[in-house]
Symmetry: C2
Subunit: 338 residues, 2 copies
């Protein structure tokens, strides 16, 4: 018996089954029909099972020149949202025999950091979200098939893009609030330079601006509950403020806004209506429950992976943004309901 420390190879299986290594490869690769008899094939499979044989992926990858592994680049993983994106992408990948490796960029990727240094596996393609342009060009230089998530279709260096229909979500929020009678808006915006946030600002301004007698102020905050609380408190404390509707770039910012409102003695939604965007677990944990736009993160990841598979396959990925849905809960109501 060979030393237990070294794993059996296809040659070991061949020897055990009394055939050549090539036959083992044919049988286990399911390419044996017409080449190997059914009884021999069964003998090979049995030997493989007995020995606990597992193909050496490194050797296979080398031989085939592909790895069936893709890289997913996300800003930070420690959020429900991107964890969901990963889960969706990984599920579709697994269905097609692919694996997904993560590259969570801690502080945005700069030229000094190499997205591939941490990806030990060789890669067949890349799905990237919200990346700095320099890292993007570094990837392009590698000639790897690339799909961009939530980024400007115009400025993506020709890469395929898969986007959530954020603009439509903001449109729904604006119309919901306008319909309730709100006229004075505050936009609590994420302090992050990313196309997905630019879209929010642009669409909100366009929708609200199309109605006479309205106003939209903007204040920026880092994406954290504390940061949002501070920014919202400062903006709302302004004595001249007549704001009745606070539109937040995401749910975390909205959670911060809740605390700001509480400290200022503003009741939600009587004195101030608040909306979020994401629909995290957070949204139903706070009181009142948050009116927000549901983004299906897993679906987003699934679409991203499907698009990449299409590119790898030489096909053209489907066009079209992923629909989002306004979920109305208790944090919005008519202004001045007191």
């Amino acid at each position: 018996m060979a030393p237990a420390s070294t794993r059996p190879t296809s040659r070991d299986v061949a020897q055990a089954a009394g055939v050549s290594q090539a036959a083992v490869s044919l049988v286990l690769g399911d390419k044996w029909r017409g080449r190997v008899s059914a009884t021999t094939a069964e003998r090979v499979r049995e030997a493989a099972r007995d020995l606990g044989y597992r193909p050496n992926l490194a050797a296979r990858n080398l031989r085939l020149g592909r790895t069936r592994t893709v890289l997913l680049v996300v800003p930070v993983l420690t959020t429900e949202f991107f964890a969901g994106v990963y889960t969706g992408a990984a599920r579709v990948a697994a269905e097609h025999g692919f694996g997904v490796v993560l590259y969570p960029s801690p502080e945005g990727i700069g030229p000094a950091r190499d997205p591939f240094a941490s990806a030990q596996a060789a890669l067949d393609g890349v799905i990237a979200s919200s990346m700095a342009a320099d890292a993007l060009t570094a990837i392009r230089g590698d000639q790897l098939p690339l799909v961009m998530l939530d980024s400007d279709p115009e400025g993506s260096l020709g890469a395929a893009t898969v986007n959530l229909d954020i603009a439509d979500g903001v449109r729904q929020v604006a119309e919901h609030l306008l319909g309730l009678g709100h006229r004075d808006f505050l936009h609590l915006a994420a302090d992050v330079p990313s196309w997905t946030f630019e879209v929010r600002a642009r669409e909100l301004a366009a929708r609200v601006g199309s109605v006479a007698g309205t106003s939209v102020r903007t204040t920026r905050a880092p994406i954290s509950i504390e940061g949002a609380q501070a920014a919202a408190e400062a903006a709302l404390a302004d004595p001249g403020s007549r704001v009745t509707a606070l539109v937040c770039d995401d749910d975390k910012l909205a959670a911060g806004a809740y605390k700001a409102a509480r400290r200022l003695g503003l009741r939600i939604p009587d004195d101030l209506s608040i909306t979020g965007l994401d629909d995290l677990a957070l949204a139903t944990a706070i009181d009142p429950e948050l009116t927000t736009v549901r983004l299906d993160a897993e679906l987003f990841g699934e679409h991203g992976m499907r698009a990449l598979l299409a590119v790898l396959d030489g096909r053209v990925p489907e066009e079209g943004d992923i629909p989002v849905e306004l979920v109305v809960r208790g944090s919005t109501g008519p202004p001045g309901a007191a």
Copy 2:
């Protein structure tokens, strides 16, 4: 010029620099001192840079017989906690030239699912959290070095374990509540068979039970806000209930308990003190802010990875649980403060 579609190999670099492939390997592998002149080495590096050479990982892995890639098995990724574990593990891994591949087991791993099917990369080792025993033995059968997170040190088939000091956290919670004067406890327990939850129940019973005149009831719920709300509401609605302190197995359950309390008209903490465990973003988003036990997920991941690196290195991983910390906030106070 070679077709742009095929990436340059070390042989291409060698040709460009006018040396042999071996020389390229020596220089780029930083093993050239005393074997190649400094000027030649520089010439090789320049050629590599010009061609945009990147070593083929599959070939390297095959040659070296190791991949510097480990698998992290987590119950679900879509939670702050396990996303944090990944982030910590990946950081330490990167520092040592390792990569981390994820295996998120959707519904607990059964024998039908193969933890390795989705891991395209060949693996050097495994870090596993809260796994079903059958998958565990499957992994053991592969002879891969294994580190278990938060699992029974006695029943881990001889694998190294890295644990958070959950018992101490529960102890701190119990003493905090006992010190405030609480005597009637309800334990809102996670409906998941896992060692880490068993520890909570055992320790709570031991601590509270050591004081005369106390009682602990238990009710179980799935780990979701809705499930927790339903279970807590049912348990608290019992007219004979004199419960003043509700100890939850994690923050998400606590968030559900908040909603149950609200619906029953119980004020927090005046009528009911509530504690959680995790210290997610959720904990400071709800009102009042949640008294909970802070688990440092990233640190947990770091320790797990360090332990695995030690095993891979033939060393013995450090012993000792990772300390946790009670964070007292507004959700706990003396009983009957009304």
